[in-house]
Amino acid sequence: MNRRKFLGAMGVAGLGVAGAGKVLAEEDGVTGASVKDVKGLPDSYAVLFDVTRCIGCRQCEDACNYENRLPEPDVDFYDTGVFEETRRTDWKTYTLVNQYDDKPPGAGDLYRKIQCMHCLEPACAHSCFVKAFAKRPDGAVTYDPRVCVGCRYCMMACPFNIPAYEYHIALDPLVTKCTFCEHRLKEGREPACVEICPTGTMYFNTREEVLKEARKRIVNNPDKYQSHIYGEHEMGGTNWIYISAEPFEDVGMRMDLGTRAAGDYTSGALGGVPLIASFWPVLLVGAYAISKRREKVAKEERDSFVSQVIAEAGPEVGRKLAERLSKSETLDKAAIEEEVRKALNEAAAKTEREDH
């Protein structure tokens, strides 16, 4: 067990760092499962997006807008002028298609649809400090606006830059993102964007079947497709899966995200919390005890030293010592002077008694 795993385990024990996995585990009736036991949710719904089939007709955008009752778009859904710039999701756009220049030239333009990837272990859910996001057993990553504080950490955390925000709304602005048309999933229906697609770019089924289909297409057309299934493992795996003929970078998909789920990156640090909370008090009280003891010993030594000097050399030397100490930079000057004075008085009293 390496350090990170150990800390991670501590975190699970101490704080329940299992995260989005925990949400799932509870709903699946499995307890104590860590993030690593999610195992790809084979029975959840998923969509395979085949980049080779998309023609950029933007009907999916239209259908999404209608299905989710989103506001009118700035530019009409059938205007291809939007392709001149690379767009991203925003508060009135849950999904959109971008055009990517043909590479190599002459191969034809490429189109790729963007929407929430519906991660198996979502960064948004993991980062949310009020659990507004949840990964559902049907595959959807959902958002609960009733508890959202509007901190926008989910937007920071999302590796795919999906969640958007209603910056223009003064009171109760919300985070917006693709819902996977969860209301339709509940009825066993595919999302609106999948349903409307005229070219069969999207294939809707369980995640297990979707991955099988992706593999089948790649195996049957090895010269056509990249031998990579995007989303099978990216950021711990997603419920939207992509295959492409061209390198994924050419359609704006990052290949450097890694296969670890977002929560993996913070569990070590969070796991350190119970360690600090348990052991810091011990160290600090220890430091306090050491400083107290040092003080006590120093006082004892000083007292015995001063009284010894007075006993041996008499009040005259004691006075000189007091004088010397008063000039020194010693911290507890006042205390030493007090001790010296006391000792001198005692010595004087003693001499007086002896005289009688």
Partner: protein, 392 residues
């Protein structure tokens, strides 16, 4: 503005340059507050979907908390490690820290969409997997601790002896609790960025970000105490008692020495961060320049200058070094949260704060100064209340 400054300040104590400027800033702040809560964040900020966090997080939260670290460092040095000669520095440091944290929370009300739900993560639904949950919980608890640590000052001012004496008895417990909470959330502010490795420049992204943030908060706090004491001596010199005046050189030299050591250690842990992640290749880039400037100009240099200032007993040098160190912390937090963040985005998509956004930050800092002035003028911060002398 300048017209008002020329008014006779002698007759009416209300018309002083500070009051006039602070008053104008507060008026501006009230107007911007109105804009913010009627027009939304879009009306006053340049935040967008790529940049959900701007300078209100970079400065008000990250720098605010780091620079308020003087509270836990000073209290720990005095009460836990028993360095009694720092006693006079504790109250100003605790006051600075308390106001710092209070203003962090105040500023967050502008930044979040639903400020009335700020306590939801603590009382309604706990997202325990979130680093931000840890930050929120610790800031909430530590603000309470700082309030209790600061409370004896107003209680002495109001002569409420009994409650004040109970609180004084809790000093050690509160100090230890404060150090634990500070350790956790100073580091967790760095840990906030752990979850987004793909968006952070490798020179700043590290699994040790929490350690970097915690260690740098120590010298941030120490430098801030030196810096704050410089200002206080200029404006509150007549308020300071013998203990405070005699203690100041100890604080300046002691804290400068500690800061020099910690900065040297911090320089090396960051250096080995570059070594371990084999990040040399990034150094001859713009990001490498920013990183090198931060490490050499704002860590190595002030560490050296602090050490030199202590050796030469040069108070002036130490005071100026504190300014460099404080600026260095701000530079670091901005580098992490704005320069390193989204480094792969094309420059036209990058964020630069709006004027109104900067205006609100200035307003928040000004509110802090006004409160500090109000409290420092009236309450026993720079001197021991005669009725409570020595009873600590």
């Amino acid at each position: 503005m300048s017209n008002h400054n020329h008014h006779d300040t002698g007759k009416s104590p209300w018309i002083t340059p500070f009051n006039v400027i602070a008053g104008l800033i507060v008026l501006m702040g009230i107007y911007l507050t109105y804009l913010r809560f009627t027009g939304g964040l879009a009306a006053v900020t340049n935040l967008d979907d790529y940049y959900p966090w701007g300078i209100w997080i970079s400065f008000d939260l990250l720098c605010g908390v780091a620079l308020a670290a003087g509270g836990y460092t000073t209290a720990a040095a005095c009460y836990v490690f028993g360095i009694k000669k720092y006693h006079a520095a504790v109250r100003p440091a605790v006051l600075t820290a308390f106001l710092g944290y209070a203003l962090v929370v105040f500023a967050l009300h502008y930044d979040v969409g639903q400020p009335w739900r700020l306590a939801y993560p603590i009382f309604v639904q706990q997202g325990t997997t979130s680093v931000l949950f840890e930050v929120g919980l610790c800031v909430f608890l530590y603000l309470t601790v700082l309030f209790l640590e600061w409370l004896p000052a107003p209680l002495e001012w109001l002569r409420l002896k009994r409650v004040r004496n109970i609180l004084i008895k809790l000093t050690l417990v509160l100090t230890i609790f404060g150090v634990i909470l500070s350790t956790m959330h100073q580091s967790s502010l760095g840990a906030l960025y752990l979850i987004l490795p793909s968006k952070m420049h490798p020179l700043w992204y590290s699994t040790h970000l929490p350690v970097y943030f915690f260690v740098s908060s120590m010298f941030a706090g120490l430098s801030m105490v030196i810096f704050e004491s410089t200002l206080s001596h200029r404006y509150y010199h007549n308020k300071m008692d013998k203990e405070h005046l005699e203690g100041t050189p100890h604080v300046t030299f002691g804290f400068a020495k500690a800061a020099a050591w910690i900065m040297a250690g911090y320089f090396f842990i960051k250096f080995f961060g570059v070594v371990l992640n084999a990040n040399w290749g990034y150094l001859p880039t713009f990001y490498g320049f920013m990183f090198s400037l931060e490490m050499l100009g704002f860590v190595a240099l002030p560490a050296f200058l602090y050490a030199k200032g202590v050796r030469d007993k040069n108070v002036r040098l130490i005071k100026w070094t504190a300014v460099v160190a404080v600026f260095g912390i701000i530079f670091n937090r901005f580098n992490v949260s704005l320069v390193a963040y989204n480094y792969h985005l094309p420059s036209e998509l990058k964020y630069f704060p709006a004027l109104a956004e900067i205006g609100i930050t200035i307003f928040v800092v000004t509110v802090g100064l006004i409160l500090f002035k109000f409290i420092g003028t009236r309450m026993p911060i720079f001197y021991e209340h005669p009725e409570f002398k020595g009873s600590h």
